[in-house]
Symmetry: C2
Subunit: 211 residues, 2 copies
DNA sequence: TAGTTTATCTATAGTACTATAGAAAAATCC
DNA sequence: GGATTTTTCTATAGTACTATAGATAAACTA
């Protein structure tokens, strides 16, 4: 009679269908949060997207903040996975740098709402989850920085390079794409990645006019 | 007896002291908006900073949205003025590019709250003022792009440079500084500007290892 | 198909926020 | 110092939003 799956929950199964529905709701939340911002979005807005009543969302989530956390998590995970995938493939530091730029732009195209919410709304997370997300974020920064440092150490990159500043510069550059990227009409991410990699590796100056 | 300075206002002078008080309030608003975001901030929060009652703010501003507009305006103006000042000084395209980077970082240090609100909250402005702010923003982009194009045309920069993408890349890079810059403990903006300019002009790759 | 579980609905308590009205106080003017 | 103007205050109307409680409906199980 008494089942003992979870200690406290009264009636909250965790079937596959339930997980699927949760994902749909997170998706709607990502959409709304990306457009109106966390505090500017109401749970009613999210419910409207799904065609259900506002209160129904609370069958799946304990609070709006938890929904934000899940959106941010999926956003940052995209970046983490992209960066890790590059570290796992062999190549020169220059190739890896170009790879990091390219890979970072993929989630930006494929999970745009999630990524934008992560970038713009994570600061509105409650302290604890903000820290957790922040750790992932810093892990990405570290991967960028490590690639640059390796490049300096093996003489491929300039010896005087400040790898921390350079990593932040590159990340700022690629993250900014989220603000203006247009899937329909703009250049494809491959194009952007190529241009950015060229800029980062060799700069905009013509070789012949170098001092 | 009847004074005719403004047609509709009942009792709203525009003396210098009033303007000074307005500026104080905008400053408090910038501070709060930067920290909590526009929708996450309440007019009560702003009043608390100033040590006055929430309703007193409405003697100076007709709405919270108008306060946001003034903060954003002052933020973007900093960038516009910085960029214009560079176009007015002579120099090579490379020098101007470095100048744009340096100048752009100044308001970021001196008007940090305003700049951050402009960057992160302008999308919550009502349509009309968002357009107005957007025009200023695009004017800055145009200045960056024009400098790059001039550099390409006189052979100083690579002929295959996509000046639009490069301009957006550079702006993304410098704007991102607003998110992590630490006045107290981090590197001074001059240092950052130098490192960024080097990256943009000549890249991170060591010259000898160029193909 | 009766019983049980899962999902959504209605209704609302409780809270918070913007903006307005009008009184009071402070500053300024003559 | 009395009148006038400027500034801030108290009080609140009106609205919106999160989250909970409990009632139904739909889906599943035996």
């Amino acid at each position: 009679m008494a089942k003992r799956k979870s200690k406290t929950a009264k009636h909250e199964p965790s079937s596959a269908t339930r997980q699927r529905r949760r994902a749909e709701i997170i998706d709607a939340a990502a959409h709304i949060f990306a457009r109106r911002g966390f505090h500017g979005a109401s749970t009613q807005d999210i419910a409207d997207v799904l065609g259900v009543r506002q209160a129904s969302l609370y069958y799946y989530f304990p609070s709006k903040e938890v929904a934000l956390e899940m959106v941010c998590a999926r956003g940052v995970e995209g970046f983490v996975e992209a960066a890790i995938s590059v570290t796992e493939t062999p190549g020169t530091a220059a190739q890896k740098t170009a790879g990091l730029i390219q890979s970072h732009l993929n989630p930006l195209r494929d999970r745009r709402d999630y990524v934008n919410v992560f970038l713009n709304e994570r600061r509105h997370l409650p302290t604890e989850s903000r820290r957790r997300i922040g750790r992932h974020s810093r892990a990405v920064e570290k991967i960028f920085q490590d690639v640059l440092r390796a490049g300096v150490e093996d003489g491929e990159f300039r010896a005087d390079l400040d790898t921390r500043l350079a990593a932040l510069a590159i990340l700022g550059m690629v993250n900014a794409v989220a603000a203006w990227y247009d899937k329909e009409r703009g250049a494809p991410v491959e194009r952007i990645a190529q241009e950015f990699a060229a800029l980062v590796l060799d700069g905009i100056r013509k070789k012949s006019s170098r001092r």
